[in-house]
């Protein structure tokens, strides 16, 4: 047993850390967020040149052939740098879905563009009513001729406005919350009948509501099996949860070290406030939260890589722990920074907001704790990682 990273993983991690250190300071991030696109194409091209966009893809498609641990070390560093570029949306989710269910020709068509930075992607799965229930899908795809016609709306689509290509979860049979009967479709974001309105989330993300009005796609747009989309989404969401929680651990570490640093310099009552034992103990508590979140992440990434039988339980526990520790850490960071922690000017607020958005992605603490309890006590055994009901 060891917890060491391989040489490649260490190099990847260092390469992201160096980029953040040298080329992505908080002012730069602020100006990128304020730009119309809310991301920088130039930064994205650098990601391509550094090979980061190729990490999870197979070598035959020009990829690096990396696994969950490779993504984890990168995401943790992205978190430290508060990177807003859509790595998660494009590489982890859009790329992950192609990896999981794409035909050879679909992979050949889309993956090279991801790797060279020319194609941005998004996964459109949320709907107005869906909350954290992945199977709650009202958007429809109806067979027509050789292909399908899509109708409906997806909301809060991460990177939805900048994406060139979307993967859309649509219902091809069954009732609103049935797991069977969901299919995935690759849709050109510029296709006739696709309409996007964009707005911002508090972590700087440029998201979109996307409506599909009689959008025609060919048979080759179907990703994976007809009616079998849920299993694909479910698996890729598992990978997504680990990646997001890795980013969260990076954010937590930064909040803790920045807060510790601040308390060592901020003077009140003639002394630095870090000299107060009441505050020392609180920073010991946030340190312990960080270590617990990190341990849970490592457990889960091992379970994911080995595809353990207990994987779901591990992932629910990871999401609960990340939410709990993240909230503890950002609340203390804001409180111990006092008035400064309440300004938009300081980066502390932005680390907190990103953590909150991670907590609200793919199910919050209550959602996952309910699932964890169901698995532990067997009353309502669930076989979906981000599903609230076990209706099937």
């Amino acid at each position: 047993m060891n917890f060491d990273f391989s040489e490649e993983q260490t190099m990847l991690r260092d390469s992201v850390a160096r980029f953040v250190q040298d080329d992505y300071d908080f002012d730069k991030r602020r100006s990128i967020v304020a730009s119309e696109a809310g991301m920088s194409r130039e930064v994205w091209q650098t990601f391509a040149e550094l090979g980061w966009l190729s990490v999870p893809f197979a070598e035959e498609h020009g990829g690096f052939g990396g696994g969950p641990v490779d993504l984890m070390v990168m995401m943790e560093e992205f978190g430290k740098g508060l990177i807003v570029e859509p790595y998660f949306a494009t590489v982890v989710m859009f790329g992950g879905l192609l990896n999981a269910a794409g035909s050879e020709s679909q992979k050949a068509q889309y993956i090279p563009g991801i790797i060279d930075g020319s194609r941005l992607g998004a996964f459109a799965y949320l709907e107005r009513q869906s909350r954290y229930e992945l199977a709650d899908v009202l958007t429809t795809a109806t067979a027509a001729g050789d292909g399908f016609v899509l109708n409906g709306e997806k909301v809060v689509v991460s990177n939805g406005v900048n994406a060139d290509t979307l993967i859309v979860a649509a219902r091809t049979s069954g009732e609103q919350c049935d797991r069977s009967g969901i299919s995935l479709f690759i849709v050109d974001a510029a296709a006739p009948g696709v309409e996007r309105v964009s707005y911002r989330l508090m972590d700087g993300q440029n998201v979109a509501n996307i409506t599909f009005n009689d959008v025609s796609v060919g048979a080759d747009a179907l990703l994976g099996e007809l009616n079998g989309g849920f299993a694909v989404m479910d698996r890729v969401v598992q990978e997504g949860i680990v990646a997001l929680c890795a980013e969260a651990v990076g954010l937590m570490g930064q909040l803790n070290s920045k807060t510790l640093e601040y308390t060592k310099t901020r003077e009140q009552f003639g002394v630095v406030i870090s000299s107060f034992q009441a505050l020392q103990h609180r920073m010991v508590d946030t340190f312990m939260s960080y270590e617990q979140a990190k341990s849970m992440l490592y457990r889960a990434v091992c379970a994911l890589e080995n595809n353990d039988a207990d994987l779901r339980r591990e992932l629910h526990a990871l999401k609960v722990m990340t939410h709990k520790c993240g909230k503890h850490i950002f609340e203390e960071a804001i409180q111990l920074h006092g008035g400064m922690g309440l300004t938009d000017e300081l980066d502390i607020a932005h680390y907190a907001k990103r953590l909150m958005m991670i907590n609200a992605t793919f199910g919050d603490r209550d959602h996952h704790q309910t699932q964890f309890n169901a698995l532990s006590y067997g009353s309502q055994a669930s076989d979906s990682v981000a599903s609230m009901s076990d209706a099937a």
Partner: protein
């Protein structure tokens, strides 16, 4: 021991209801909810309250108070908050006025109190400084006597609504001899004075209510000094206890919690209403039970004040518990908003976004982080209880 309502109390409640029915129009409600029209609308509302004699019920009757019993206070607050009517702006009515009527001279009382009652002047509070937060007595803004004027130099920070204010009440340093609490004076300063500059601070909720106020050779007539020079700390301490009594916000939290329950009933995903989720129910009832107790703690303090006691260290307890509960309710509302909880204000209509309260939930949660920092941080409140109550 009897906490039931008398016939007089019931009659009073009916009077309050009748007044709100008539005076708090839908139009006024809408304008008070709109940040652009807030100042004008709240002033209009406060003038209506003043005409009824209810704008400052807790002032001594001789200056315009209503002479209410604690029960009447409780009834009024319950009725106000149950309709979602915002409390009066505290800076004039609840903060500076008690200092003026307690420590001011006759001329100051006659000059300022009627205008405060009628909301003719908008006040703001000049206490905190960049180097003086929890350690308020470390303040450095200097006032030097020059003939019949003080000349003020320095800066105040976290000044809420300074951009609207006609007057600011300030703690300034008039002497640096002896203990730092000595040599502080309480000065009323016209915001139109030459040499005052207000710099906006964007806060964590992406709104502008906080400011930095700079003073460059601002000349303030000596008649604007409250009480004696160098004794301002004593007056300020009395004021801080007043500030903290209203801060529990029990009635507002009760209403906010009811609102959360109502919202959770409407959230149905995966075929289940959020309100039926046992984990969610536990979180709501945990808060509700704390509130039930805090409501009576609040009444006990009010009763002891009515019996002639001054609000003392008990108000620190109200502040800590009250703000913790406010934050928990705000967090719950965020969680009800689920995937919509991060939405920033946008020109888009809620119908287009697909959600009614996501952005509002975010704003109140984020700004709500300030409640445990302002009015003397909760850490300072604990110091006060440790010292004044436990004798440590």
């Amino acid at each position: 021991m009897d906490t039931s309502f008398s016939a007089e109390d019931i009659a009073f409640r009916d009077e309050v209801r009748a007044f709100f029915d008539e005076a708090y129009t839908d139009d006024l409600r809408d304008r008070m909810g709109d940040s652009k029209q807030y100042r004008e609308a709240i002033v209009e509302w406060q003038k209506k309250l003043n005409a009824k004699g209810w704008v400052a019920p807790n002032w001594p009757v001789e200056f315009g108070g209503a002479g209410w019993t604690p029960t009447q206070n409780f009834i009024y607050e319950s009725e106000r908050s149950s309709r979602g009517i915002r409390d009066v702006v505290p800076f004039g009515l609840k903060m500076v006025a008690p200092v003026i009527y307690t420590f001011g001279n006759e001329e100051q009382k006659a000059r300022f109190l009627p205008r405060i009652l009628n909301s003719d002047d908008w006040w703001c509070q000049g206490y905190s400084e960049p180097g003086a937060g929890s350690d308020l007595a470390a303040l450095k803004t200097k006032a030097e006597l020059d003939g019949d004027h003080y000349v003020v130099n320095g800066a105040k920070i976290w000044t809420t609504y300074a951009q609207h204010a006609d007057w600011i009440f300030c703690l300034v340093r008039t002497s640096s001899e002896g203990k730092k609490q000595h040599g502080i004076s309480f000065l009323l300063i016209d915001m139109k004075s030459e040499g005052i500059k207000v710099n906006p601070i964007e806060s964590i909720d992406n709104h502008h209510s906080l400011n930095e106020v700079e003073f460059n050779n601002v000349r303030v007539p000596v008649e604007n000094l409250i009480g004696e020079q160098d004794k301002g700390w004593t007056y300020a301490k009395a004021l801080l206890a007043h500030e903290r009594t209203g801060i529990a916000g029990v009635a507002d939290s009760k209403r906010a919690l009811r609102e959360v329950r109502r919202l959770a009933e409407a959230q149905v995903s995966g075929g289940k209403a959020l309100i039926d989720d046992p984990l969610f129910q536990k979180r709501v009832s945990d808060i509700e039970i704390e509130l039930m107790a805090l409501e009576f703690t609040d009444l006990r303090v009010l009763a002891s004040v009515a019996a002639g006691g001054a609000p003392g260290a008990e108000s620190s307890l109200l502040k800590i518990k009250g703000t913790e509960i406010q934050q928990q309710v705000q967090e719950l509302r965020m969680d009800v908003a689920a995937h919509y909880q991060g939405v920033l204000p946008t020109e888009l209509d809620n119908n287009v976004i697909g959600h009614e309260f996501g952005s509002a939930a975010r704003q109140s949660y984020m700004y709500g982080r300030a409640a445990t920092v302002y009015g003397g941080s909760n850490e300072i409140q604990k110091n006060i209880i440790a010292k004044a109550v436990l004798g440590l």
